[in-house]
Amino acid sequence: MSWLLLALAVLLISGLLALLVQHRTVSVLAAGGVVAAAVCGSIPALRVLLGAPAESLRWNWAVPYGEFAVELDALSAWFVLPILFLSALAAIYGTEYLAGWRGKKSLGGATFFFHLLVASMLIVVLARNAVLFLVAWEVMALASFFLVTFEDEQESVREAGWIYLVATHLGTAFLLAFFLVLGRETGSLDFNQWAATGALAPGTAGLLFALAVIGFGTKAGFMPFHVWLPEAHPAAPSHVSALMSGVMIKTGIYGLFRALTFLGAPPLWWGWVLLGMGLSSGILGVLFALAQHDLKRLLAYHSVENIGIIALGLGLGLIGVSLNSPLLVLLGLSGSLLHVVNHALFKGLLFLGAGSVLHGAGTREIDHLGGLLKRMPWTGTTFLIGAVAICGLPPLNGFVSELLIFAGAYQGVIATGASAAWPGLAVIAGLALIGGLAAACFTKAFGIVFLGEPRSEHAMRAHESGWGMRWPMLLLAAGCAAIALFAPAVVRALVPVLAELTRSPLETVSSSLAPVMRILTRVVTATLGFVGLALLLAWLRNRLLSGRSVKMAGTWDCGYVQPTARMQYTASSFAQPLTHLFKALLRTRERLTRPAGLFPKAASLATETPDLCRGNLYAPAFQKVSWSLSKLRWLQHGNVQLYVLYIALTLLVLLLWKLR
């Protein structure tokens, strides 16, 4: 634990120093501080995941009901590691990424808030006292708000900042209710006591569950509470987007896991609620991603999708608990937890890649890009790895976690009795659809951005980023491969976490996890076989071609004489069949001017797909509220006689009413 405290201290001190010093030193502090903290922090986290007992620490904290109670148990450690790893890489990346703003903006401030964000995320996953948790939670929101509004001179960025802080704060309101009600029921604000106190009244537990799902779901980005993601992620500097999308939204998932350990045995409907959330988030998330042509916005919607997948796993796990079928529980939970880490890796990688594109080509508009793989080979290759991983395709990590969740679903399907089969059916159908659509979306993202011919001057003049930005991407790509390669080991590291969540001894968990291990070993062998085959074939092909004529020519243009870059398929046209298929959900706005006449002049098609919930749920709700509140405004009519009348009436009413 002392190591973690050291990490926190390093973060805060280096952050504060960054406020005082000048350019160069700032970048040193920015990267060095976080990396050092990451190193310090990982030590105890790894120790705990390898089976060491949980470390905890309680200090008096002179705040009513507050106590600086932190504990590093397996669950916390599982979230601490990705936070530290990704933060360190993002910080390194950030130093080069932000270099362009040197002198124009206070990088010291950005650094300070970045470090504050990392520190608060750590405290959030470590805290064991409600007040401490809430303060850290709010600081996290505030710090990320200031990071999101880094480019505050842009209207859109300010708008995004507003939406983000409002959304997260309204979410916090539900959390306040959650913690306070729980505190009233148990007479304490201490997490360990909550975990200890067993059964709540079903009604109360249900209410608390609902509050937790809304409160934490807002941070995690469950549909329909996701509205802030597609706004905030594109607005933020890319390394911050990576951090927010990679790990910050996971604190919501952590909160949900933690909350579930307080609420006792889950009834079946909790699982179903999470499945519903998962399906809506997953499918709608990927559909909206498909319809975007802003690269970072697209990635943001994919975060919604992946959070949905995580929710599916968690939901299966809960259903398993309520039907007590251990294998279902383990598959669901481990899949969900593993996907948390996987998503941190490949989404971090993808956002860093997108940032590199923005940095090198100067635009996020997919339709203005193209042919970047030649100009930015490193970014392109790592981005491709991230894309394959996020589509859940072998031989990378996304496949492993999705395999576990899928396996859970099939486990449910073949289980005796229909009650587990229904959710299984839902998950299989949903996850298969999500997978297919995700593949469609990332073939589009990668294909249009990095392949083909440049579609604009921007893309033409794109340049590769420096090593400061390459290394983080390379490491993350390596991480994606490594998790797939060492899947059994990684899942074994989950044993203490699962034991803690299911409140069963380690041996039981590891023994009932044995079949899963067998699956994973086979999978790894098969994927290794695949890689071997691919290499072998590549070698063979090159052998065959060696010494034969290998000519370079123009792309076969089907007899058309002058193909131009503008004739290529664009992101919009590529996705059009699918977006058209789901237009009922997407409500894409099209502005189409058709070619007319025998010798048609310019024709154009512009599409934009605004968020479904924001447009049809929140905006109307906000309008309704403000409308009804505006009815109160005649109170301040400006006429003094009227004001005195209010006073007199208030007095009389009270006298007549209260003196009975």
């Binding site: 405004r633 301040q636 009519h637 400006g638 006429n639 003094v640 006689q641 009227l642 005195v644 009348l645 007199a648 006298l655 003196l659």
Partner: protein, 212 residues
């Protein structure tokens, strides 16, 4: 001449205030009311009339009967207005409302169970009625002067209550109260003066730039 008579007269002055449109008349009526109330302490505690009661009586009589009217007339001269412009509530309606208010205050006075400790059963109702009448003047009239008058009447009501109901309010407090009433009216007088100089009118209802 006993307390009840004075109280009845006070009620009548209130009604007169509600009924009359001429500001001058209103001010004189208010002055008369002030005089009457000045006598009140002497009559409420006839046998025990220590120096401070007498002093209080004289003080308030002088203040409300002489100083305030003088202030207000000055304000009127400045503003060169003589009568209330079209009021929110017509005069006949005002009188009817006054009657209703009178009934209400009798009922409320009974509700408060004050009569037992008051020197006269009429006292609490009269006090309440003056308060209501004062409020009515403030809310129902447009000229700023009328609102000052209304406030004055309201103060009178409270004063009536204080004198009649509470056996012993410490002298200091009573002085403070008188002082405040004086300053209040004084300040309002000055305000009216300023307003008139700035706006060339003293119609409170036209002071409505600040809203929302």
């Amino acid at each position: 001449m006993n307390a009840d008579l004075i109280l009845i007269l006070v009620v009548l002055t209130n009604l007169k205030l509600l009924a009359s449109s001429r500001l001058g008349a209103c001010i004189r009526t208010a002055a008369a009311q002030g005089m009457l109330l000045g006598l009140l302490p002497l009559l409420v505690h006839p046998h025990t009339a220590p120096a401070r009661v007498v002093g209080l009586a004289l003080g308030s009589a002088a203040l409300k009967g002489v100083v305030f009217p003088w202030l207000l007339f000055r304000a009127l001269r400045e503003a060169e207005v003589t009568r209330e412009v079209e009021p929110y509530v017509g005069y006949v309606t005002s009188i009817l409302a006054g009657i209703l208010a009178l009934a209400a205050s009798f009922w409320l006075g009974g509700r408060l169970a004050l009569s037992t400790l008051a020197a006269s059963p009429l006292l609490a109702p009269t006090a309440l009625f003056s308060i209501l009448a004062g409020l009515f003047l403030i809310v129902g009239r447009k000229r700023a002067v009328n609102q000052v008058l209304g406030f004055l009447v309201l103060e009178n009501g409270i004063y009536t209550f204080g004198v009649g109901v509470i056996a012993g309010i410490p002298f200091l407090v009573e002085l403070g109260v008188l002082l405040d009433a004086f300053v209040a009216v004084f300040v309002m007088g000055i305000a009216v003066y300023h307003i008139n100089r700035e706006f060339d009118h003293i119609d409170a209802d036209r002071l409505d730039r600040l809203k929302g």
